[in-house]
Symmetry: C2
Subunit: 80 residues, 2 copies
Amino acid sequence: MKAVVHVELKPGVLDPQGKAIAHALNGLGFEDVSGARVGKVITLDLGDADAANAEQRVAEMCEKLLANTVIERYRVEIEG
Amino acid sequence: MKAVVHVELKPGVLDPQGKAIAHALNGLGFEDVSGARVGKVITLDLGDADAANAEQRVAEMCEKLLANTVIERYRVEIEG
């Protein structure tokens, strides 16, 4: 079973990495790019066969390690 | 218009960051995690109203800046 965790900065939190990307794209001639934000996707291989339980455990992993919940929000998807 | 770019390591390329995450999760008691891989999601704000053209331009951005195509692959989604 696989779990896909999407971690992104909460709206309103400054994203310097995204700003740098937008600036660099503008410099390369892509002037229609007015902003960029960067997030992470973490794909976990899980042994557990129980999807409901897995979702709860992965949420716990996010709270403890994968996301900084002060500035980031996360979303968990469980795949077959 | 928004473009969402997913960048991930090609299969077979070692992912030390993912390995560190899996190891840390195991250490926290999540022993069912047997592996992890980490990717990026870049959300771009585009002014362009032409979706087909936008997709091509974003692919060009990936080739030039957003992805290292030697070791990474990317996928572009255009959202209304």
